[in-house]
Amino acid sequence: MIEARLSLSEARWMLQLMNLEPSPDSPLRDPLGVVAEVPGGSSVETKLAEALTTRGLLLSGRRINPFAAAAMKWLAQPEVVWNLALFGRGGAEAVHLAFREGAAVECRREPSGLRLRFPLPESEAREWLTVQVEGDRRGA
C-alpha cells in the first residue's frame, strides 16, 4: 500500500505536468479550484519539485512516479466516486474513493492538503461497501 501526502499546490502542479484537468465529479475539483497554476520555471516550481523528489513522488528528469501518476489520474478522472462523511469524536471527516475499473484511490482532505492511499485492497473495499450500505440503510 502506498500513502502519499500532497499539498494543494503540489497536487495542482502534478496535474499540470500530466496535462490533466479534474472532471466535474472529481474529488480534486473543489480543493484545487482555489489554487493558482504554478508558473513554469519559477522558484515555486523548483521548491515543489524538490519536495516531491524527497518523498519519492518525482523521479529524475522531473518524471512523475508512475504510481503517483496513476493515482492522480484516478482522482482527476474517476469513473465512480464515493463521497463519505465520517462523523465521530473530533468532528467530521470527508473521505473520497475514486474508482476506475474496480481499483480505487482513497483521498482524505487534511488541513495541510491531501492524504492519498492507494490502491485500495479488496478487504478494505468490502468494509467501505459495508459502511456505505449500512449508512444508506440507516438513512445517513
Binding site: P66, G102, P121, E122
Partner: protein, 189 residues
C-alpha cells in the same frame, strides 16, 4: 367581557385532567370514574409510543420481496479493490521483479498497477519507482485501520449517562410539544 369557555371533547377533557393532575395530590384518581381513568390510560398509551422506535416494538421487518432482487444474474458483480501486492520484492531488478512487473502489466493486480506499470514502461523503471517510494517513506506494509469508524462507542459512564439523559429530555420535550399542539380549541360564545 365575553366569558371564555372550554368546549372540548373527551380527549380534551382528559388532557385537562392530566394538566391538573400535575399540581394535585396523588389521591386524585380516587374521585374520578373508572371510565375517566381508562381514557387517561388510553392517551398515555398513545403518548408512550413516542418513545419507541420501530425496531423496539417487536415488529418483524418485512421479508424481502422478489421485486427488489437483482434480475440480471448473468452479469457477475465487479470486484472492488485489488489483491495484495508485495512491493518489497520489486526493490531490486531481477527475475522476481520482472515477473511481478509482467503480472502487473497483465492486470492481475488491478487496473491501477497495470496503469503504473504501463507508465513505467520497463521492469527496471518499475523497480526504480518503487525504490523511490520506499526511500520517501511512502510504502506501507498494510492498510492502516481506522478505529471506531462507523459507530464510536461512548468511553466513560458519565458520557453515557449524559447522552442518555439528554436523549430522554429531548424526547420528553417532543412529547410535550405534541401534547400542547393537541390541546384543543378555545371558543368565545
Amino acid at each position: 367581557m365575553a366569558r371564555e369557555t372550554w368546549n372540548g371533547n373527551w380527549q380534551e377533557s382528559a388532557f385537562g385532567r392530566i394538566r391538573d393532575f400535575v399540581g394535585s395530590s396523588p389521591a386524585w384518581y380516587e374521585n374520578v370514574a373508572p371510565s375517566d381513568v381508562a381514557e387517561d390510560a388510553y392517551l398515555l398509551g398513545i403518548a408512550s409510543t413516542l418513545f419507541l422506535r420501530d425496531e423496539d416494538s417487536g415488529a418483524k421487518p418485512n421479508p424481502p420481496t422478489s421485486a427488489g432482487k437483482r434480475t440480471s444474474t448473468n452479469t457477475p458483480a465487479r470486484p472492488l479493490g485489488v489483491p495484495p501486492f508485495t512491493y518489497e520484492r520489486c526493490l531490486a531488478a531481477g527475475p522476481e521483479a520482472s515477473a511481478a512487473f509482467a503480472s502487473a502489466t497483465s492486470g492481475r493486480f488491478g487496473a491501477l498497477h497495470r496503469e503504473s506499470a504501463a507508465g513505467a514502461g520497463s521492469a527496471e523503471a518499475w523497480s526504480e519507482a518503487i525504490s523511490a517510494l520506499r526511500r520517501g517513506g511512502a510504502l506501507r506494509s498494510e492498510w492502516p485501520s481506522d478505529e471506531c469508524r462507523c459507530d464510536p462507542p461512548l468511553e466513560t459512564f458519565s458520557e453515557d449517562l449524559r447522552a442518555c439523559s439528554s436523549a430522554v429530555l429531548r424526547k420528553s420535550m417532543h412529547a410535550f410539544k405534541i401534547g400542547f399542539g393537541l390541546w384543543g380549541r378555545w371558543e368565545s360564545p
